[in-house]
Subunit: 298 residues, 2 copies
Amino acid sequence: MKVHLVGGGAIGLLCSYYLARAGKNISLLTRTAEQAEAIKEKGITVIHKEKEQSVSLHAMPLDEWGDQSSDCLILAVKSHQITSVLEIIRNNRINFDHILFLSNGMGHIPVIYELQTDFKAAVGVVEHGAVRKSLTSVNHTGAGRIRWSPINFSKKELDPLWKNTSSIGFPVKAETDWIDMLQTKLIINVCINPLTAILKVKNGVLLENSYYKDLVRPLFNEAMRILNRNDYDEMWSLLAQVCEKTASNQSSMLTDLLKGIPTEIDSITGYLIKEARKNNVPHPYITFVHHAVKGLEV
Amino acid sequence: MKVHLVGGGAIGLLCSYYLARAGKNISLLTRTAEQAEAIKEKGITVIHKEKEQSVSLHAMPLDEWGDQSSDCLILAVKSHQITSVLEIIRNNRINFDHILFLSNGMGHIPVIYELQTDFKAAVGVVEHGAVRKSLTSVNHTGAGRIRWSPINFSKKELDPLWKNTSSIGFPVKAETDWIDMLQTKLIINVCINPLTAILKVKNGVLLENSYYKDLVRPLFNEAMRILNRNDYDEMWSLLAQVCEKTASNQSSMLTDLLKGIPTEIDSITGYLIKEARKNNVPHPYITFVHHAVKGLEV
C-alpha cells in the first residue's frame, strides 16, 4: 500500500514515523525543500518517555510531487491550509484512492462535502500530545490514539493502512459516526484551546482553578447547545478526563500563539459561531474567546 | 488646615507630594514602618517628563497614629482595604471633619452610606497615570486631574484643601453629581482594566486592535445597561479619549497582576455583577472578565 502524508508538523511527523515503523511504504510531503532534505538524510526521530527512536523514510517537498499515484493520501495540515494543499494536488495530477483528513475543528467539513462525489474521504482525530522539536524530530508527550471514520466507503477498505500499528504503540480506532466523532473533539477543543491560549496556562489548570472552571462550563454549555447535543454528563466527564490526562501539556493553540503562527481558531470557534447564527443560539462566551484569540494573533 | 492621607501607593505618594508642594500641612500614613522611615528621611520624589522633584513631609505608620485630629482625611487605598483602615481610625480615636475616598470602583459605596450619618464624606476619582518606583518615589506618567464631589456637605468647605494645587500642575475639579462621576469612572475602568490585565496589553491597544474593540464594545454596553445610562455616544467617546491619552500606560490592574498583588476586580466587575443581578440585566462579558481576572489572581 502506497501512502502519502502531507504535513511536516508535530502530528505529520508522528504519524509518518509510526506508519513507517509499521512497515508502510510512506512518503512525507513537506512545505519546504529544507525539511524534506533533512528527513531524507536523518529520517524521523520520536522522543517518547525519554527514549529516542528513529526511522528512515522517503520525503519530498509538496510542490515537487507530480504525476504520481497513491493508495491513501493523509492530510495532516491545519484546517486553513487544506484548500491550498488540495489545489496543489489537483494541479500536479496526483491520483489517489482514499483521502484522510486529520485537521482539528470542523472548518474543513464543507470542503470534504464538495470532495465526496470525487473521492473516498475519511476524517480522523488525533488524541496524541506531540510537540515538534526540530525539522526531523518530535516529542511524543502524550500517548493517545487515532480515531477515524470513513464518510463514503466501507471502513474495511483502510484496514491495510492500520495493520501492525497498534502493536508498536500507535492504536487506531475506527468509528462509524464521523459527525459525532468530530463534534466530540470540537467540544473538547473549544473548551481547552482558546482559554489556555488566552490565559497562558497548561491544560490541567482549567478545571483545577475554580474561577477558570466558571469560564469552561458556559463555553461548554454554549457549544453543546449550538451542536444540539444532549449528552451533557458524558461529554463533561470526557472533557475532565482529557484535561486530567493532558494536565501538563501546552495546548496547540497556545503553542501556535507563542510561536507567532496562525491558530486554528476559525475552524473551532469560527465554525461554532456560524452554526450558532444559523440556528439562533446565544453564544457570548464563544464570541468572547474568538475575538480574544483573533486579537492575540495580530 | 491639617491633612492626613492614608496610603503609600502610587496615588497616595502623588497626591501627598502635590498637596505638600501646595503648602498643606500634610502627614502621610503608611502601612509599613519601613516606608514611613524612608519618607521622613528622603521626602517624596515625583518624576514627571524626565524631571525629578522632591518635597519633604511628615510620615508615620498608620497603626502608630493615635489620639489625633485632622481637618481632612484622605483615603488613597484600594477599595478592599477601606474597611480595615476605618477600623484602625476608629480604634485609635482619630477625629476628623471631612473624609475623602479616592478608591477605584464603587465597591466602597455601601461603606460610605454607613458613614454618612457620622461624617462629612466625599468621593474622588484620580485621572492621573502614576507608577510607584520605590518606597519614596513615583513616576507621574500621565498628567490628568482629580475630580471630587461631596456627598453630604457644601463643596466650599473643602476649598482650602485644593488652594494652590492647580497652579503647580495638579488641577482639581469639583463635581455636583457624585454618582454620575463614579459611574463614569467605573464604566471606563470596566472597559480598560480587566481586558488589559487578561490580554497583557497597554491601554491604547484595546481600541487599535479591531478584535479587541469587539470585546470592549459589549463590555461597555453591558455596563451602560446595568447602570441604566443612556448617554452611549458621550461615554464611548470619553472612553476612546482615555484609551488614546493613556495609550502607552499599563493599567493598574495589569500592574497588580504582574506584581502578584490583589486587583480591584471586586469593586469594579464585582459591583456591576451584583447590580446586574438585582436588576436582572444580562452580563456575560462582564462575568467572563470577572472570572478570568479572579483566576489570574490565584
